[in-house]
């Protein structure tokens, strides 16, 4: 049971932190339409966060709700993967982070729609439509930027290279993941990784980008609560009000 709660929280943390990052761009998108799309994705992810957290809180039965989980935990309690907490950078950085995440998310959520846990299956089914759209959009933009001007190509390639080391964590399973695989909930790592690599490779081919080596060294730690220096600042901003006025109703 503890493993399942931990697993649910990880999914919620991934969605919440990425949603927070995308929300930072509200009003700053490169075009009005992009601005709306980014905030739409942020809202989708926030909705998914709430479903993961609610289920986790229910299983935990310790009186924590979605808000407590989001606002009353510190950086080391968050188990999101390192990729989602990376800074927005330029638009190529933002969209590459999104594309790497969406590709994983799409295959991952797709696999969860067939998992053994009914509640998780429901969450996955609700999310899959959104995630399918996210992936379609971010893949499309990667192709446009990669196969755009020499400058956009260079920026997109730089983003691809820079964020690559954070992508290994999706497939680096620990005891919690393995327990969930054994319980028939989580998809096995290797097939998921193969799907991820194949899709990224397809899109990079179309975008005239060079895919970094799948065997490159990969950063890890997010799932264990060991984060990059960015998460603390993100949480300080996100949690400020609840920390200043704990327990206030809103």
């Amino acid at each position: 049971m503890d493993n399942k709660i931990a697993y649910l929280l990880r999914q919620g943390d991934n969605a919440l932190i990425l949603s927070q990052r995308l929300s930072e761009l509200c009003g700053k998108g490169p075009a009005l339409e992009e601005d709306m799309a980014l905030t739409n994705v942020a809202l989708d992810l926030l909705g998914q966060t709430r479903m993961w957290y609610s289920y986790a809180a229910e299983l935990e039965g310790a009186g924590r709700d979605e808000d407590k989980l989001a606002y009353h935990r510190d950086a080391h309690d968050f188990k999101n993967c390192l990729l989602v907490e990376q800074k927005n950078g330029n638009y190529a950085d933002t969209m590459m982070r999104q594309f790497y995440f969406d590709t994983w998310h799409y295959f991952f959520i797709g696999a969860l729609t067939k998992c053994g846990d009914e509640r998780i299956r429901e969450i996955a089914e609700k999310s899959l439509k959104e995630v399918t759209y996210h992936l379609r959009r971010s893949g499309d933009l990667i192709v446009r930027m990669g196969d755009g001007t020499p400058v956009s190509h260079a920026k997109t390639q730089a983003a691809a290279d820079q964020l690559w080391m954070y992508t290994g964590e999706f497939f680096k399973y620990d005891a919690v993941d393995e327990a969930m695989v054994a319980a028939g909930v989580a998809p096995a790592s290797e097939p998921l990784r193969a799907q991820w690599l194949a899709h990224v490779s397809d899109i990079f081919g179309e975008a005239t980008l060079t895919m970094p080596s799948p065997d490159a060294w990969m950063q890890k730690g997010g799932k264990q609560g060991v984060h990059s220096e960015h998460l603390g600042y993100l949480l300080a901003e996100m949690q400020f009000l609840q920390r200043a006025y704990p327990g206030s109703e809103w």
Partner: protein, 94 residues
């Protein structure tokens, strides 16, 4: 050359709608992106829609100066307005 993306007009048919209605416009670099953007900007809250996008430059509008010649409905010639016929119940949406 303008750095601005071209303007597209967006027409949407809602789930139970019979025809596409003009809902607004947006900027996008090509048709594919215009459809994506239209989805984000105009269809977020109702599923099951059909979207048409068309380059604003491809639309030809009537001139306001031609209003009388084009739209004068000949109200004095009552035989031009076939409103005297009873319609069968089954005929909907006429």
């Amino acid at each position: 050359m303008s750095k601005e993306w071209p303007l597209w007009e967006v027409f949407i048919r809602s789930q139970h709608g019979l025809a596409h209605k003009h809902v607004g416009s947006l900027h996008a670099s090509d048709a594919g992106m215009a459809v994506n953007n239209a989805r984000d900007v105009y269809t977020r809250r109702n599923e099951g829609v059909s979207i048409w996008v068309v380059r604003a430059t491809d639309i030809v509008a009537s001139s306001p100066g031609d209003k009388d010649a084009l739209f004068e409905p000949s109200n004095s010639k009552v035989y031009r307005h076939p409103t005297f016929f009873p319609m069968p119940e089954e005929v909907k949406n006429l």
